[in-house]
Structure formats: C-alpha cells, structure tokens
C-alpha cells in the first residue's frame, strides 16, 4: 500500500488505496491546467479534459472500466458544458453505477473540488451545500490551500 487509510478530519471519505490515485483536471485554459498539474504532480496519475462534456465522458468511461477517478478538479466556467452541469452528470453516473452494484464496495465516490473565481462564490456555495461537490477553491489557485484541503481529507499524506 502506498499510504495507509486515514480517517478524514472533515467530511471526506475514508480511503484505502493500493494503487496510485487517479486525478482528473477539467480546465479549458492550458496555462491553468499546467499550474494544477504542477501542484498535483507526484500524488497520482493525471488526466485532463478541456470542457464539461469531455470530462463527463472520461469520468463515465473510467467508472465503466472499474478504475474510477479518485479526485476531480473542475473549473466552473467552461465552454460546451460548464462545471456545475458536469458535476451533476458525474454524480448521477456514480449513483447509477452503485445501484447496479457495478461499483466495488471499497471504492467510494470521487472527491470533487470545484475551481471558481472570486466573483462567483454563490454558485460554488450552492454546489457545496447541496452536497454534490466536496469543496471549492478560488482562482488564482493557491497551491498550499489546495494541498491542505486534500491532506485534510485523507487524499494525500
């Protein structure tokens, strides 16, 4: 095991991981993708998607292949399908999978962090309180804040 299971301090799931963490970064601006990639390097394997639609496709594919994403970082403002919609779709897919018992017992739901700009906290708070996402961070991304959040929730040591 790469790291032992840790009970989370906040409301994150307990994680028992034997392989590398699967991370999905959903961001349409390449420079910001790069930044996020840099922050999360070494904590898992990183995939990227440029918009909500691509993200949902990748997410569902991973679910179907029995190797779902552990962590998703998703910008709210994106073309084609925005973050909020994508979030809804992802959670819907998870529910479907678990109902059909296609989700292994030890795999909990993905930890999804929304990335928002300071001007639009209302949107994020809504998503957060409705229990769909696990947290949010604001742009410009503070790497320490992000890592602290992940640490607090037992995703990284």
């Amino acid at each position: 095991m790469r790291y032992s299971a840790k009970p989370s301090k906040k409301n994150g799931p307990e994680r028992l991981r034997e392989e590398k963490m699967k991370i999905l970064i959903v961001e349409d601006q390449l420079s910001i993708q790069e930044k996020l990639r840099f922050v999360l390097e070494g904590h898992g394997s990183i995939d990227t998607a440029l918009n909500g639609r691509e993200a949902v496709e990748a997410f569902c594919r991973a679910l179907a292949n029995r190797s779902p994403y552990d962590l998703v970082l998703m910008d709210i403002q994106m073309p084609e399908m925005d973050g909020q919609t994508a979030l809804k779709e992802m959670r819907k897919a998870e529910v479907t999978m678990s109902k059909a018992n296609l989700l292994s017992w030890d795999k909990k739901l993905a930890f999804i962090v929304m990335v928002t700009s300071l001007e639009d906290p209302g949107n994020c708070m809504e998503a957060y309180f409705k229990g769909r996402c696990n947290g949010y961070i604001t742009k410009p991304v503070d790497s320490r804040e992000l890592l602290d959040k992940l640490r607090d929730n037992g995703l990284i040591p």
Partner: protein
C-alpha cells in the same frame, strides 16, 4: 501630577502660638508641618507650595478663618485640598457656617489628640482614594476608546465588503438574506462601538464642536427623512415645525445637533405604538452674537415611569435589567445627548406621562457669524486653509471604507463641504443637482466606472454650453502610462495614486481649486501626484509582476515554467481570437466568458496589467456597456503584444 507617596504636608493657621504648639505636639511626628499665624502669611505659604491639608482656626484678628477660607477657595491649585476648621466648643453656629462653606470637617477645642489624629488621617486617605479612583476611571476610558477604535476599523472593512457582496448580481436570494442579516448585526455592533467611543471622548472632554454654517430647516427635514420608512411601517405620523423667527442659516455643529435629534426621534418612534412624533423648533432667546434655539421631540408613546425619569440621562442607567429590557440599545445614547447638549450651551430635560407620551426638549446656542477656524488648521502652513473651507468636493468611490477615509482626510485639510457618492450613477445625479468645485473619482467601480462617469459629465458640460468645467481627479491604484492616457482621454484632469497621501492631495487641491477668482487653465503636473513606488508593475514599465514571476520560476523550475509559458501563449492566442470575434459580434455574454478565461490565464503568469484590463472587459460583458469594448480591445492588443515579447525574453 503628584503621587500620594510623599510625607503629607499640613498647614496650620492659628494666631495663638499656644494652640499651634499643641497641634505640633500631636501631629509633628507623622507629618510635615507649616505654620502661619495670620491669613496673609498663610496665603503666601500656599502660593509657594500646596499642602495636602489645612487646619484653620476661625477666630483670628484682621482676617478671620472664613474670610481666609473664601480666598483659599478661589485658588485653583487648592481646590482639592481638604480644610478642617478649628473652633471653640461654644460656637455651634460657626461649625454650621464652616461646613456650609465647604470645609470637610471641624474640630472643637479643647483638642483631643486621638480625635484629631484620626480625623486628619481619614481625610487624607479619602483624598488619596479619590485621586486613585479618578486615575483609574481615566485609564479605563482611554482603554475603552482604544479598544473601540481597534474594533471599528476591521468592522468598517467587513461592512464595506458585505455591502459589495450584496451588490453583486450573482447572489441568490438566500445569500442576500444572510448578507442583510450580517450587515444589520455589523451595523448594530458599529453603533455600539461608536457610542462607547463617543461617550469616552465626551467624558475625557476631547470633543469640540464645529462652527460652520448650515441650514437648520434642511437639517430637520433630512433627519426626519431617515425615519419616514420606519414611521410609515408603524403608522405613526411624523412631522416638524420651525418658527419663522429662527434664521435660515446659523453657525454651529450640524453633525452633533443631528446626532442628538436622531437619537431623540429614534427613541420616540421606538416607544410609540400609535399616534404621532413631532419635532418642534423655536427661538428661546437671542443677542447680537448668538441665538438660543429650543428643540422639542414630542411623542404619543407609552411614556416613561417617574422612577426611570431620574436616571434617564445617566450613562448605563440601563444597568438595571428591567430598564434594559424595556429600552434596549447601548445605554449611552441619552447620556451622550445630554453631554452634547451641554457642550452646545444648553440643557436637556424630559416630561412624560405613562400611557400618554413623552416630550424631550433641549436648548442649544448657536453663533450668528463666522468664528475663525481652529488653530489646528494653521499647522498645515497653507495660507488658503480658510478658503479651502468654502470649497465643495464630491468623492466617488464604491468602497465605503475609502469614502469615509477620504472624507476625513479632506476634513483635516480644511474642506468642510464634502459629499460622498457610492457609484457612478449617484455621482452623476449629485453633479446634476449641485455645483462642485472638484471631484475625486475612483476609476474602478462596478456598473459605471470613473472614466465613463467623467466622459458623461464632459458631454453634459459641453451640451450645457456654459463653459463650466469641474476638475475631476482620478483615484487609482495603478498609474501606468496607458492608464494616464486613458484617464486624460476620458476627460479627467489629474491623478492621485492610492493610498492617498495627505500632502500630495493638498497640492492637487491647491492646483485645481479656484482659490483665486476666475477659472484658469492649469496644466496637470502628474509627476507630483504619482507615486511610482506604489505601482510596482509600472516601475520598469513591465507588463509582468517580475518579482512574483521570478519567484514562481524558482519554485517550479525552469523546465516547468517554460512549459507553463508555452501553454500560456496558446491560451493567449486562442482567447484573443475569440475576444476579437465576440467584440465584432457585440456578443456581451461571450465577451464576458472570454475575458474571464483570459483573466485567469494572465493571472497564472502574473501579467498584472493585462489581468486588470481583462477584468474591465469582463465588466463590459457583464453590464453590456459595449461602447467600451472596442477601445478596451485595442488596449488589450497592445498589451498582449508587449506581454509576449517580455515572456519570450524571459525564456531565453
């Protein structure tokens, strides 16, 4: 100030040496004794050194004890010195007289040593205790004022930001409701803190009244206006009356007067369930120099019980829980009113009948003519300080903290007529209503920013055809070449870098206020108004925040930073293309989206100048003020080319 630690000094005044000898035998060991055998000698001694206590024989030739006592009481330095009269037993009327005059005690002959020792000791101890108590109270007042100040500053910040948040259109109703509640709590807290601050300032006699001209009737109307909504909700009739005898313009402190009236009217409304609240103003007396005005706030409310009436104007009378429950508030409001009224040369009183209503009335004295400015202003070493007082300035800034700060700053510079506007719309309305000598305009405001307001104003001025031109000074956190050009193009006359420096502000005011008759075409010399040290990104004209960029390069490593910059170039091109198309298509929503995305990218490489302009473009998209889109886009084209060059250089 003397402390109580020294050996106490007692002055004995008696014309009979034998008596003095007796007292010296009793008191000589414990105290330092001075002797005077006549009133005149006594006066000479106290003039040189103040004793801690005086023992005074009543029967003396030339000047008897009472006469001497009266003289002693006129000396300020002896005000707090206890005086004990020494009398013969057969003169009870002397004792009464002495005590009535203000002596603290008397001792009858023949003198009982134990008694006199005890009496002297007690009175000296009392004096010490009193001084300590006063010192403690003073220290507590100062501490309270300091803490209140510490609390007030961040609280203002919180309220300012809450106000901003509430203005943002993206808030959902629940959030808005929460924000409103937060704001109410914050305002209440601020009111409490302000009351405490005010109260302690007044106690410490640190409050002085202004002496400026104001329109009393206007003040009455405006003050009552504040209550029109709450009165309407309670279905209470609200009105004011002012007799014709009261002149239109009087000189005094309108803010403090308003404070008192506000407090009284607020209370009246609070404790009235139905009926009316009236503000009645009339003349109570006048002379050549000044006039006394009578104010009365009458209500048909629940009234005040007689036992409460007595303590109403004392601070913290509501320490009594039952009163607090009825009255609420900080317990300081009426006490502050009483102090302020006293400062204004009047007295406050209340009449009330439970179940019928109350009437709070007070008098205040005002001047008829202008009294010269406070000496503090002279320190500014500027001959036109008095003239500055006549000027009228409009401050436009969407952040309350900034507005308040500028208002205070202007006041210290001698500007008494300052109007505050919180956004471009309000600014335009005010400018339409009245003439201003100068406008301090924040550039970056939501909805309608400073440049747009200025452009509109210039347009109106030109249309008016009167040739009037109000100087507009830009307030901005960044003064780059491009910013300056834009401000000039919009019609602004000069700039001030934030945070605003008092000396520089004064210079700007002198340059632009018509302190000599007739308009003059003044050339702005922005070098004085600009503080390049405060605009780091314009230091070398670089579009990047070089320091931050270099720091990040070190953290990420050259290779990764390189990858980041290459990714950024791709984003830059892609977004600029999209932005050009969106502007051409006048698609506000798309403009918003692209500008927002571009802003994020620019932030990632610390391109601060461009980030700001993206923000402006974002606003354009959000508000639909598409007139700005093309000029802004031109701006961005220039900047993006420069940014590219700079970043390329960094890569090599």
């Amino acid at each position: 100030m003397t402390d109580g630690a020294h050996r106490k000094r007692i002055l004995i005044v008696d014309d009979i040496p034998g008596n003095i000898k007796v007292l010296m035998e009793i008191l000589g060991d414990g105290y330092d004794i001075s002797i005077a055998t006549s009133g005149s000698t006594a006066l000479q001694i106290v003039a040189k050194k103040v004793p801690d206590m005086i023992l005074l024989d009543i029967i003396m030739p030339d000047m008897d004890g009472f006469e001497l006592y009266a003289k002693l009481r006129t000396m300020a330095s002896l005000r707090d010195v206890p005086v004990i009269f020494i009398t013969a037993q057969s003169e009870p009327e002397n004792e009464t007289h002495g005590l009535a005059l203000g002596a603290v005690d008397f001792i009858a002959r023949p003198i009982n040593p134990a008694v006199i020792l005890a009496r002297v000791k007690t009175h000296l101890a009392l004096k010490d205790a009193q001084r300590e108590a006063l010192q403690a109270a003073h220290a507590k007042s100062q501490y309270l004022a300091y803490m209140s100040h510490e609390i007030r500053s961040p609280l203002n910040g919180i309220l300012g930001l809450v106000g901003l948040l509430a203005k943002r259109k993206s808030q959902d109703p629940k959030s808005l409701q929460f924000l409103e509640l937060i704001e109410q709590s914050g305002q209440h807290l601020l009111a409490v803190v302000n009351d405490i601050l005010d109260h302690s300032k007044i106690e410490a006699n640190k409050v002085s009244l202004e002496n400026i001209p104001f329109n009393l009737r206007e003040l009455l109307a405006k003050t009552l206006d504040l209550f029109s909504l709450s009165a309407k909700e309670k279905r209470i009739k609200l009105g004011w009356r002012c007799t014709d005898a009261v002149p239109a313009i009087i000189f005094g402190d309108p803010n403090r007067l308003r404070q008192v009236l506000y407090n009284l009217v607020a209370n009246a409304i609070k404790f009235t369930k139905k009926g009316r609240v009236d503000l009645e103003v009339g003349m109570a007396g006048c002379c050549e120099e000044s006039l006394t005005v009578q104010f009365a706030v009458r209500d048909t409310g629940i009234g005040i019980p007689p036992d409460v009436l007595n303590v109403l104007f004392q601070p913290f009378a509501q320490a009594d829980a039952s009163i607090a429950r009825t009255f609420g508030g900080t317990g300081l409001g009426l006490s502050i009113c009483a102090s302020l009224v006293r400062l204004m040369g009047g007295e406050i009183q209340v009449e009330s009948r439970p179940g019928e209503g109350s009437c709070f009335s007070f008098t205040a004295t005002f001047s008829r003519s202008f009294v010269p400015a406070e000496p503090a202003l002279a320190n500014l070493a500027t001959p036109t300080a008095a003239i500055l007082g006549d000027c009228r300035i409009l401050v436009v800034d969407d952040i309350e903290t900034n507005r308040v700060f500028l208002g205070e700053l202007l006041a210290t510079l001698g500007i008494r007529q300052v109007e505050l506007a919180c956004d471009g719309q309000e600014a335009l309305a005010r400018l339409h209503e009245q003439a201003f000598d100068l406008v301090l305009m924040d550039c970056h405001m939501p909805v309608l920013n400073g440049l747009e307001v200025t452009r509109t104003l210039r347009g109106q001025e030109a249309a008016g055809g009167k040739g009037a031109r109000t100087p507009v000074i830009a307030l901005t956190a960044s003064i780059t070449e491009t910013d300056r050009a834009r401000c000039f193009a919009a019609g602004m006359d000069d700039f001030l870098a934030k945070p605003v420096d008092a000396q520089i502000l004064l210079q700007v005011l002198h340059r632009w206020l018509r302190v000599t008759p007739g308009p003059s075409a003044v050339e702005p010399t922005p070098d004085l108004a600009i503080r390049p040290d405060l605009a780091p990104e314009s230091a070398a004209g670089s579009p990047l925040d070089e320091t931050a960029f270099d720091a990040e390069s070190r953290i990420m490593g050259k290779e990764r930073m390189d990858r980041l910059v290459r990714a950024f170039f791709q984003d830059l091109e892609r977004n600029m293309v999209a932005l050009r198309m969106a502007v051409a298509a006048q698609d506000a929503h798309k403009i918003f989206e692209v500008a927002h995305a571009l802003k994020g990218c620019c932030g990632a490489v610390y391109a601060t100048g461009m980030t700001r302009h993206c923000e402006e473009m974002q606003q354009v998209g959000k508000t639909g003020a598409l007139g700005r889109a093309t000029p802004l886009l031109e701006q961005l084209e220039v900047e993006h080319a420069l940014l590219r060059k700079t970043l390329e250089k960094k890569r090599t």
